[in-house]
């Protein structure tokens, strides 16, 4: 997996560096903090699966909290507190669960096994910002610079998700025995955050909620497991990271141009920022999973996994989530970016370096969608085959039938 993640993180680091040189993202302290965050996350991935990796990931989260705080505003301080609180609580819950299970080497006797599972669910829900414990992510998006949020979403969050993927391999019983609850958690994020994204009028929190919405998809892939689910989660996380970086970058360009955060009342930004507008659109397409982007490869597998294990009800819930995603982005594109300029001209133009970063990250998902083997994306497939479900398919299906009922209820 690291053959994919490390180049991704390196690319993101280079992109963030180039972008932030053109459009300032913070004071002098911002640079070492962002570098430390990305570096710690990368090292934690290299450290494998153990206490060391966990501590490194937690250190990265602490530095990320400092990164949020570095903006120096009261809103940033409040957001940093929320973020830190969620990360500390999440890490504590996960660490306790891992201690109970010997770091995945054993399944404790009842009721400790159930306690461990509940703690893992709560811990990852807090770290990934799933509904209903998502509160830190919109606050961070509102209070931080765009690249701070992008790093947290595309690097820190992604690393947390990879930890979940590793647990899926190490502790399959946690997922297969309790699939219904995991799926309910995933669907709450998928549908709940989709609705909340539709209710936003500012683009930055809208992007934050759509991140949570997408995490619902990714979690479903992990829970459903199997080659399709896991590979789907891998492809989708690539589309997620790239798409989010591009969209936050484009919104940051708009903020730079306008001198204020763009909202749905902003009009015709593409007239003055055509590259940022095109990048936002491409990023949204990759994120929503429209062919031929890499996001489609992920979504296609997630749909397959959903149909195979959750039946038409789960499939319907997935498509309802997709429909909400597309409605949300199309509204943002057409109200904010396209159409006649409504007093948005006159601000500074998008610097060339930032434009190059946006274009590169916008085109990459399309290239990866057409040639997915180009950057060793086959690696996740190998990781997927290592997953060996120990629970009979009938048990999983029974559990998922319950999940499908839950999905119907949520919907």
């Amino acid at each position: 997996m690291d053959t994919v993640l490390l180049p991704l993180f390196a690319g993101i680091a280079a992109g963030v560096w180039l972008y932030a040189r053109s459009i300032p993202q913070g004071g002098r302290s911002w640079w070492p903090l962002v570098a430390a965050t990305i570096a710690l996350v990368a090292v934690s991935r290299l450290a494998g699966h153990g206490w060391g990796a966990m501590l490194l990931a937690f250190a990265a989260e602490l530095v990320a909290a400092a990164l949020i705080l570095s903006r120096g505003t009261p809103a940033a301080a409040a957001a940093a507190r929320l973020f830190l609180g969620a990360m500390v609580a999440g890490t504590a819950a996960i660490a306790t669960a891992l201690a109970l299970t010997g770091f995945g080497t054993m399944q404790p006797a009842a009721p400790l096994d159930k306690v461990a599972v509940a703690l893992l669910m709560l811990g990852f829900a807090l770290k990934l910002g799933l509904v209903p414990v998502y509160f830190w992510l919109p606050a961070v998006a509102r209070a931080s610079s765009v690249m701070t949020t992008a790093v947290i979403v595309a690097v820190v969050d992604v690393a947390g998700f990879c930890e979940l993927l590793a647990l899926r391999e190490a502790m399959p019983w946690v997922f297969e025995g309790y699939a219904a609850v995991w799926i309910a958690l995933a669907l709450a994020s998928l549908l709940g955050a989709g609705l909340l994204a539709l209710a936003q009028s500012e683009l930055k929190p809208m992007l934050a909620f759509s991140t949570i919405h997408d995490m619902g998809y990714l979690l479903l892939g992990v829970v459903l497991g199997g080659p399709e689910g896991m590979a789907g989660a891998w492809f989708a996380i690539l589309g997620h990271a790239l798409g989010k970086l591009v969209m936050f970058g484009a919104v940051g360009a708009a903020e730079w141009h306008l001198g204020a955060p763009p909202t749905l009342d902003t009009r015709g930004l593409s007239s003055s920022l055509p590259v940022a507008g095109a990048a936002f659109m491409l990023g949204a397409l990759a994120f929503v999973g429209i062919p031929p982007t890499v996001g489609f490869l992920g979504h296609w597998r997630l749909y397959l996994a959903g149909a195979e294990l959750g039946g038409p009800v789960l499939l319907a819930a997935l498509f309802a989530g997709s429909a909400m995603g597309i409605l949300c982005y199309v509204r943002a594109i057409h109200r904010t970016w396209l159409g006649p300029a409504g007093g948005t001209a006159g601000g500074p133009a998008l610097p060339r370096a930032a434009a190059a970063v946006l274009l590169a990250f916008a085109i990459t998902p399309v290239v990866l969608g057409l040639v997915p083997g180009a950057v060793g994306v086959a690696a996740p497939e190998a990781a997927v085959h290592a997953t060996a479900p120990d629970v009979p398919p009938a048990a999983v299906a029974a559990s998922l039938n319950t999940a499908a009922s839950v999905a119907g209820g949520v919907k």
């Binding site: 609580a89 209903p132 609705l195 749909y303 006649p340």
Partner: protein
Amino acid sequence: MHPITSPILALLAGVVLQLLLARTLTPAGKGILATAAAGTAFAASLLLVPGAMDGTVLHAVLLAAGDGGVALRLRVDGLGVLFMVMGTGTGAAILLFSIRYMEHEAQGVTRFYAIMLVFIAGLLVLAGAADMLGAYVAWEVIGLCSYSLVGFWYRRREAADGARKVLLITHLAGYGFLVGLVLVYARAGGTEWTDPAVADAFTTGVVALFLVAAMAKSVMFPLHTWIPEAMNAPTPVSALLHSACYVKAGVYLVARLYTVGDGQWQAAMGMPLAAVGCVTILVGVVFAMAQTDLKRLLAFHTVSQLGYIIVALSLGSGLGLAAGLFYCLSHALFKGTLFMCAGAVQHATGTRDLRDLGGLAAAMPWTARIWIIAAASIAGVPLTNGFVAKWLVFGAALDQGLMAIVMVAWIGSILTAFSFLKATVNTFYGAPSAALAGRRVHEAPPSMLAGMGVMAALCLVFGVAPQLLLVPVVAPAVAGLGVAWPLEAGWLGLLTGRGALALTTAGGAVLASVALGYAVYRFAGAPVAGPVSVYSGGEPLPAGDRPGAGDFAGMAEDAFHPVYALDPDPVYRAGWRRLTRLAAAAASVARAVPERRPVLTVALTAAALAAGVWLV
């Protein structure tokens, strides 16, 4: 290079060259390059025709396996060849027209030509895809191309709004294709059109999902409302969208479903499709009659004409499929021509409002002639391909004793003729409009005339000698769907089968009548050209002694008033309002609990998770 990949690769090479030479070529040069690429692709597609006539099915790999062993494979049979020839031929003519039409565009010309070429290539991949997954990818690619092209002038509110509507209706309905595809794959482990396991995995529900997607692309009622809004695109885009590359994608999907399980789904989908098609024929033409915008009028006629095609395909017989596919090709020719004529008019006058047009035949005689040929064709006047297409549809419906379809098609034809009478008279005849006073109206440049003229000429050629299209292109396509349709061609290639013989005889009779009429006109002394009174059958004439476009539209609105209530847009808007209200309610709950009381939220979540885990 494999023969079936060469048309696609020629188009993609055109795209690459457009991008590489963007800074060196003039707008006209880019147009010539794009036309050359499409022309090459057309020539390469024509080379596939002999193989299709022999019943050969060609296989090739377009994109090697990369993602989990999934490759983009092509399997081109007669149906695929038909759509490839139609897409590249129509596309080449429209791109030829675009050279002069787009040469004054200040920016975005490279984008325009590159996306147009991808658009055509997308249709080719759709038509050639060996499996449903490849077809779906192509389906979405052409969807994105149409979105980008309809929103080409994205700084204009109406263009951006039109693009949004195109994307939302067709993409959301397109989930039907994707859901169906996922269900089939989950059951069969593959998605090849011809795989017996795939046929076994099909259910009525899956067929219905596919049809929903096809209905939105092919503007069937009630998913047709995006098409009039898409008119704010450059005219070549409208022409391509309407004639070949977009609305025909749905037609392709419906036709291709006959491949699955040797047409076993015709019984399930036949009657619903026929009903939807009949309603669409009438709704489209009635809405068209009320239009005063030339392109919107043509757009609603696309709705109506697609109804004919779908009705013909729904019949399921060999003659029905042949009728639908012949109609599909004929529609590409006459509708592409009509849009280009409308574009030429707008190019010359700066307007497409029928109330501001009139008397253009004097300044634009060739455009007027070309328009009349295409208008006659869409109205089903004998000696045009439109007549042959309608004849075949009527014949196929009569064969099955479906008089209701014949009646609907007949009424639709009458109203179409009425609508085009309005459009033709108000655009080209009568006194020049006051709105154009002082404006120097010029004839379309030769390359624009060539683009539309070639297609109009083909309307006549295939009207007089339909066998030129039926034998090499349509019959192999029907055979490719696994349906028997013996086409009898006798002396000099004239059709001699039942029905077709009568068609040939009728064509000959009309030709003789026209020749006789012309002889009388020439030798009996032609009347002097000048204004004449309008025959109104006793109805009072409006002020000015000349019924205008507004009068026609008003009359249609009076006559068909209840039909105009059949606008599904308010229903869609109400759905959107409900969703946004639900979102607002969710947001107020979210603000009250998770965002204001995070600790309580964490505690409640922990309790809920513990309860869930305990209960499972």
